[in-house]
């Protein structure tokens, strides 16, 4: 099966050229990074842009850095690079743990973290893990640079706060001591989209962040569950109270990969196991990274 409609292609050599190109076809342009979603969508006719702007030759978008307590991940950083990064391993090993669950090696070699939040499918693995940190998405457009809080990024099913003529340059994460975990339910432990997913970060003084994937139109942070947990040491009652709130927070669908009931029940189980594991990791113990809790 071929891609049925024609489009123009540009591969700009600078950010300024990329932004110019994006303005050429207002409303009918797509940014191409890894392309693992975009090329599949082009094939399906799910998107039909007049122009595709490939940003892989734009310098400066492929770096992972840590400076002044801020981890920066450029928009061309692939999942494989997250897995292999010493900086990620040292500061937020949760990101590598998440990346290892994404598709297969051949996809991870190409697909990018930023592309994943731009595709913004409900099961996107990067959404929940970025939502449990103070994360900022940095974008550039004709009007200059703008920063978008990750909490304002996912605005609907496959919709983000990014304008058509803008491009993401990087995401930044304010580093804090934490114990983090990503628990992902798949049909088998090889290559699958999430049926449901939970990301948790436990911080000092009993502060928690909780986010879900694949159980709502967008990745979903639950501030209500966080408020119920904050300030409390974990115990059976505290965890049970949080777990009891899950059904009211998420809105999963039934499809070929799982029923809504199964997704809800498993999300409850993953939240319970994840809360304990994240808290143990905060104290320097807890399960080894990469261990599957479900």
């Amino acid at each position: 099966m071929v891609i049925a409609h024609e489009f123009d292609y540009r591969r700009p050599a600078s950010l300024a050229e990329a932004i110019d190109a994006l303005s050429e076809h207002p409303g009918s342009v797509r940014v191409l990074a890894g392309g693992t979603d975009l090329v599949a969508w082009l094939r399906d006719d799910a998107v039909a842009p007049d122009l595709v702007v490939d940003i892989k030759d734009v310098p400066g978008l492929g770096d992972i850095t840590v400076e002044d307590g801020v981890l920066s991940i450029g928009s061309l950083v692939t999942f494989t690079e997250l897995i292999e990064s010493e900086l990620v391993a040292a500061h937020i090993p949760l990101f590598a743990e998440m990346a290892e669950t994404v598709a297969s090696t051949g996809i991870r070699n190409r697909a990018t973290m930023v592309g994943n939040i731009c595709s913004a499918v409900p099961s996107c693995d990067t959404g929940p893990v970025l939502l449990v940190f103070d994360t900022t998405v940095h974008v550039v457009g004709p009007a200059g640079e703008r920063s978008i809080d990750i909490n304002d990024w996912f605005v609907g099913l496959r919709q983000t706060a990014l304008a058509d003529d803008e491009v993401v340059t990087r995401v930044t994460i304010n580093l804090r001591d934490h114990g983090g975990i990503y628990v992902k339910l798949m049909r088998y432990a090889g290559e699958d989209l999430a049926q449901a997913a939970v990301a948790i970060a436990a911080y000092a003084d009993h502060e928690y962040r909780v986010a879900f994937g694949a159980v709502a139109p967008t990745p979903l942070r639950s501030t209500r569950i966080e408020e119920a947990l904050n300030g409390k040491a974990l115990g059976d009652t505290v965890v049970a109270d949080a777990v009891a709130m899950v059904g009211g927070e998420i809105s999963p669908i039934t499809d070929m990969r799982a029923s809504a009931e199964y997704r809800t029940r498993m999300t409850e189980v993953m939240l319970e196991r994840g809360l304990w594991a994240a808290t143990e990791r905060l104290s320097g113990a807890g399960p080894e990274h990469g261990v599957r809790l479900i």
């Binding site: 099966m1 071929v2 891609i3 049925a4 409609h5 024609e6 489009f7 123009d8 292609y9 591969r11 191409l32 392309g35 693992t36 090329v39 599949a40 082009l42 094939r43 595709v52 490939d54 892989k56 494989t80 290892e100 598709a103 297969s104 090696t105 051949g106 996809i107 070699n109 190409r110 090889g190 290559e191």
Partner: protein, 153 residues
């Protein structure tokens, strides 16, 4: 558009439209037939090629993205015959129909380059995106594990 792509060490110039997918250009315009057309959505791994230095799904790469880059397929792995891994796979009857073999050989070769002594889990993880419907994976995994140990004892 005129694209310049190095394929298995040879420089090619090929005419392609932006909508042409790399897999189709390799097979139909350059006659490189080892990458197979399977699911065409990145799930089955039969179209695996090496782009520069990493395996990718050529069904999810536009041919124009490869302009100025280097493609290696299983034909270009070793010009002096089969690689050690391929020999072990032959000896182990790893494949039956062979449709998945080019992708699996490339994926396993990439694994061994980065991790010369993989565990069974490492091999399973590295090949999780390459589907085989004939041999049930075991003879494939065994061959990769043997290659990791420097060949059969």
């Amino acid at each position: 558009m005129q694209l310049k792509i190095k394929v298995n060490g040879e420089d090619w110039t090929v005419e392609a439209a932006p909508a042409d997918v790399l897999l189709d250009v390799l097979r139909e315009k350059l006659g490189v037939k080892s990458p197979k057309i399977g699911c065409e959505r990145g799930d089955c791994g039969s179209c695996t090629i090496v782009l520069d230095d990493r395996t990718v799904r050529s069904c999810l790469v536009l041919a124009v993205e490869a302009d100025g880059h280097e493609v290696t397929t299983v034909e270009g792995l070793n010009y002096e015959g089969l690689s050690e891994l391929q020999d072990l796979m032959v000896g182990n009857n790893s494949f039956q129909c062979g449709f998945c073999a080019p992708g699996i050989v490339l994926a396993a070769t990439e694994l061994l380059e980065h991790n010369p002594n993989p565990t069974r889990h490492d091999v399973q993880e590295a090949l999780a995106g390459n589907l085989c419907r004939c041999t049930g994976y075991e003879p494939i995994i065994e061959a990769v594990l043997s290659a990791g140990k420097g060949g059969p004892s």
